[in-house]
């Protein structure tokens, strides 16, 4: 059994070909720019989409705990009373209330993956496990990777690599491609923005680079956080020093789509109001140039 918070078909930005992407819940990091904040916690969370809500109060009447209230800003859940029983979600006619995160058996997940095989086969796509952090649910992930391997489905793991060495060593032989997030080279800054230091990430990346499995690097490019010359240069130097270089470096230009998700979660995006901006084209180009100087292939976008 594992906890998934989303499944996306016709995923064309998560590795080669057309893919199905499974989002495994739970992440050890808490990056301020995270655009899937509902995937961070290890337990299911309730989401509320105000735009969908028709204000019928069916949920208010149905809640056995009396935890819900219709206010001027829509339905508000008293988190001290809510026991996450799911009644309100079941009765909500408009699906304005949802629970993000549901238990899936491996068989259920495989049935979903197999629905996409016709498209995968012809596009040289496959399945991508992302999150959250898929390595947070190693048993579930390893079993899915094994099953997909038996069915000749191309497997990509989209990960921060913030996990124990043992888990990474077990995943390597069952994986066809790593998509590794590399956020900041300075560990202190990494801790500041992502909640954890980066040493483990870099060590595990060395491990991946020493294996036979190809890997891509994905860097969220954020002016004010990591798009500065120093960080990019250090990233390039580090990557160039690895036993084998990444097949591709995707520079993902910052966007604040995560705001919308925070609204649904009832949390605040970027509460400390760090200055974060999409880098301008000149900066993007300079980053590309730095990687090129190190004989590394990089491009803007995933």
């Amino acid at each position: 059994m594992g906890l998934l918070f989303d499944i996306k078909r016709y995923a064309i930005n998560d590795g080669p070909g057309i893919r199905i992407t499974l989002f495994l819940k739970g992440c050890p990091m808490s990056c301020v720019w995270c655009h899937n904040p509902e995937g961070i916690g290890k337990k299911p969370v309730k989401l509320y989409t105000r735009k969908k809500c028709i204000g019928c109060q069916t949920c208010v009447h149905a809640c056995p705990e009396g935890a819900l209230e219709l206010t001027r800003s829509g339905i508000v859940t008293d988190k001290t009373k809510c026991k996450m029983c799911g009644t309100c979600v079941e009765v909500c006619p408009a699906c304005a209330l949802e629970i993000s995160g549901r238990e899936w058996t491996v068989n259920e997940a495989m049935r979903e993956i197999e629905k996409e095989t016709a498209v995968m086969d012809r596009s040289e796509g496959g399945v991508t496990f992302c999150g959250g952090e898929p390595l947070m649910q190693p048993d579930f992930l390893l079993e899915l990777l094994t099953r997909c391997g038996q069915e000749d489905i191309h497997r990509a793991v989209d990960t921060t690599l913030y996990a124990s060495e043992e888990v990474v060593r077990r995943v390597i032989p069952l994986c066809d491609l790593f998509l590794v997030d590399l956020k900041l080279m300075d560990s202190e800054k990494h801790r500041h923005y992502c909640g954890v230091p980066n040493e483990r990430v870099l060590e595990n990346l060395r491990l991946v680079a020493a294996s036979d499995v190809p890997y891509w690097i994905r860097i969220p490019l954020i002016d004010g956080v990591n798009a500065d010359e120093e960080n990019i240069r250090k990233s390039a130097e580090f990557l160039a020093s690895l036993p084998k270089p990444p097949e591709m470096i995707n520079l993902l230009v910052y966007h604040d789509i995560g705001k919308n998700k925070h609204d649904k979660l009832g949390t605040t995006y970027n509460p400390h109001q760090y200055a974060m901006r999409a880098p301008d084209e000149a900066t993007q180009q300079r980053c590309l140039d730095i990687f090129a100087e190190h004989q590394l292939t990089a491009k803007i976008g995933g």
Binding site: R9, Y10, N13, C56, P93, C95, K115, A118
Partner: protein, 813 residues
Amino acid sequence: MSTQKVAQRAPKSACNFAPSNEANMMGMNDRIKRLRKESFEAQPSLSIERALIETKFYKENEGKYPIPILRALNFYEICKQKTIYIGNDELIVGERGPRPKSVPTFPELTCHSVEDLHILNTRELQRYTISQEDIDTYEREVIPYWKGRTQRERIFNHVPKEWKEAYEVGMFTEFMEQRAPGHTALDGKVYRYGLLDLKDRIQKHIESLDFMNDPEATDKQEELQAMAISCDAAILFANRHADLADEMSMTEKDPKRAAELRRIAEVCRWVPAHAPRDFWEAIQMYWFVHLGTITELNGWDAMNPGHFDQHLAPFYEKGIADGTLTRDQAKELMSCFFIKVNNHTAPPKVGITAKESGTYNDFTNLNIGGVKSDGSDGVSEVSYIMLETIEELHILQPGSAIHISACTPERFLRAGCKVIRQGHGYPSVFNPDVYIQELMRQGKSLTDAREGGCSGCIEVGAFGKEAYVLTGYLNVPKILEVTLHNGIDPVSGRKVGLETGEADSFQTFEDLYAAFLKQIHYFVDMKVRVSNYIDRMFAKYAPATFLSLFIDDCIAKGKDYYNCGPRYNTTYIQCTGLGTITDSLCSLKKHVFEDKRYTMDEMLQAMNDNFVGHEVMRQYILNHTPFFGNDDDKADSVAVRVFNDLYDAIEGKPNTKGECFHLNMLSTTCHVYFGKVMGATPNGRLAGRAISDGTSPSHGADTHGPSAVIKSLGKLDQVKSGGTLLNQRFMPSLLKREEDVAKLASLIRTYFALGGHHIQFNIVDTETLYAAQKCPEDYRDLLVRVAGYSDYFNDMNADLQADVIARTEQESF
């Protein structure tokens, strides 16, 4: 199309309008730019010339000749008298009317009233101008003669009361009440034989008629003589163009243009009398044949050259090899041809439909790529030239489709996808590997099936050998509506169906479904009976003696296109609204019969109230019902069941030509009309809103992305139909990168491997469409493809516009 306008557009939307930017205009030379502009700006108008010639001819000659000969002589008279037009810059010549976008009327089929003409002249959308003087002349000369003599009156005088009731409430439409059976495409004959060759052949068949033993010999002789007259008519028509071109060359000051005019004269004296000798003549040959068929009668979907690239490829290769043709010249001629087709707007309808409906265009759907009759890849350099022409011209007509077989090169598919990405609404994409099976299942030979393809919307036929008559659309969701009201149409209150029991008497979903099935059979049978009558009316009173020349085996059999002359004679009923009916049945099944969340009475009450006061219920249905298009077997199995039951109801019903009816699954724009005449449906659709188009999911119901949509569609055994239609809207953002194009290509390949017949893409964003509604003049070239045809967004009525906007946007970020 000024460059200034391009500059005003938001860069975000730029990819929808790429053809207007200078980079893409580069391919067009100045001649094509001018011709395109003229065609684009020409205001459609009505020409009464054909009606006047025809009325005078009929007044003097009706009763003097057997009908086929009367029709042929009428055609001859029109060819002899009509105004000949040769425009500046033109290389390919000939217009149906006296000038571009000037449309004749066909009073022998249906005669416009004075009121119709006024409406057409003044209506806001799709206006056809006509002068008061012409309206007066029409009232004096044309209308009185045709009163009581038109096909439309013949038909409506015959139809039984039940049929008329069902027709009036919108249970089905009838194609042939205003136009002749059409949907015709040609094979390669006209590039091998001139009309003089065909006349020789006709003469031989006349000489071998056996009056001793063949009771039909007399009829055959009349038909064959009429065909020979039709040959003369078209040759005369071409020669009149040659004369005019020669005459114009005398006074032409520009020596280059004078030489072109002399060349035009030479071409027109050679074709269509003889088989074409080069690329130019081949295109002009086809164009004269095209004009002949749409002048003779007003057939549905006009006319289509079929596999034009395959037919032209030998001429192209020969010209390139012997140095008489360059690639640029070939493209210029191709562009001239495209503009000619674009000049030909469809004749407008009469009666109530003159106000409400009517598109400007016929459906000349060019088949590009595909397979040759030996099964090998049909793509040639001409195919790529055609794709470039589509991309550069960006005009409404001709429509175009790429035909992608397993043997089609990836390069061609991707080249087609890049044009799709521009957001013109075409080319659409067809799957020969499936439609060849469809045609063979209906009894065509392998070779004839391979030479087939799509003629207009999505229907397929054996080109040059088949009359495939589409009789009209069946409003399948309305059959459920009537079933739920025990045979009564709740919108009009009229009884149109069988009494199959009150809705609350159904104990199980199967009870309901059995009643629904009974009603399906009832309406299908009703429609078939009238269609068969109409078929004979055309065979008797409106033989198409010119068209018959080009469809095997009309000459050999001595029989007309409408009278079993063709090798294959197929009749279709087109079923509309598979998504709406599936979702409605799923809603009743789940909420009323399985979960018992609502009683049948509650459901009917809510539908009756158009869900006003039942919004909670409507939202629950919309969000908690398995809907078609999500790769969910709970819904898809219902769709498969309905599809198979429609097939069983229609397939094999006899037509009048010794063959039978088949199922077709298209809607063109009829889903909008059908939605208008319906109340709210159990799937939460509100009254008056469009029902789903073709076999596409209901608007907004497909929430799992395009791969789930094609999986759902793939569960239908599409080979049992004569065509299905899948409209898939794509946000431009899904096609930004080169690799996205390859991914779109593999999505298409996958759908076709799953047995898909057709798919088309609308690459537009909602913002653009809203902006277009607010400020139409800035979006005049915004072309949208709706359910099998392309139209300018601005030319669509508000309902159609809303329909386009409502289609699901596929987001994958």
